[in-house]
Symmetry: C2
Subunit: 108 residues, 2 copies
Amino acid sequence: MSDAEIDRIFQALADATRRDIIRQVMRTEQSVSTLAGNYQMSFAAVQKHIAVLERASLVGKERRGREQIVHGNPEALRRAARLLDAYGDIWRQRADRIGDILSESPKE
Amino acid sequence: MSDAEIDRIFQALADATRRDIIRQVMRTEQSVSTLAGNYQMSFAAVQKHIAVLERASLVGKERRGREQIVHGNPEALRRAARLLDAYGDIWRQRADRIGDILSESPKE
DNA sequence: CTCATGTACAACCATTTGGTTGTAGGTTAG
DNA sequence: CTAACCTACAACCAAATGGTTGTACATGAG
């Protein structure tokens, strides 16, 4: 997983509206305009947020009739989940050690 | 954990240099200039990256003599780790279901 | 004391971001 | 066919990002 890919994923997650969109479409796939209806901002603004999520390949779009259905991308979400877990693990590990470092015997 | 806080954390992680700085200071606390030495960019640029990490309270600084020592913030890192894990879990769960949704009986 | 080191911070710049409005193109309903 | 609806996309704007250089100020070394 390249740095650029990871950048795009974290970037995509760094906005509450986008995090909410992900939640929504993971629960139920929805058309762009249905999604847009949930937020105060303009339709175009929501389109852009979706585009950011697409660039990170966290969601995909699928044309269905005259609507465009947005759905979560299972493969990418799983990969992202693994990435986040990896960071979580490392941080917990290190965080636990920082407190101990003075009292415990420095092993490694 | 507020939306703004989460924004700041993901934002902080959306840059490879900053992710690297975190890795470094979690392994060993280091002065700002020592850190700056590891990267191509200017000293001031690294200072700014550190400021972003501080704003997300992922790292802290501690004056020691004339140097400023940057260290990981165990408490915040643990909280961030839990956050990332939570996302990881939800995503894995949902991702697993998306594939099944057509074959299984729709429960809920 | 003097000088080199380590840091902070301001000013500036180009690019990206997050938002807007407006226009245009498909697609379905009647 | 015509009208309504859904979407795409361009143009524009303000603010934030990520970088630079330059200046100023502490602090420790000699």
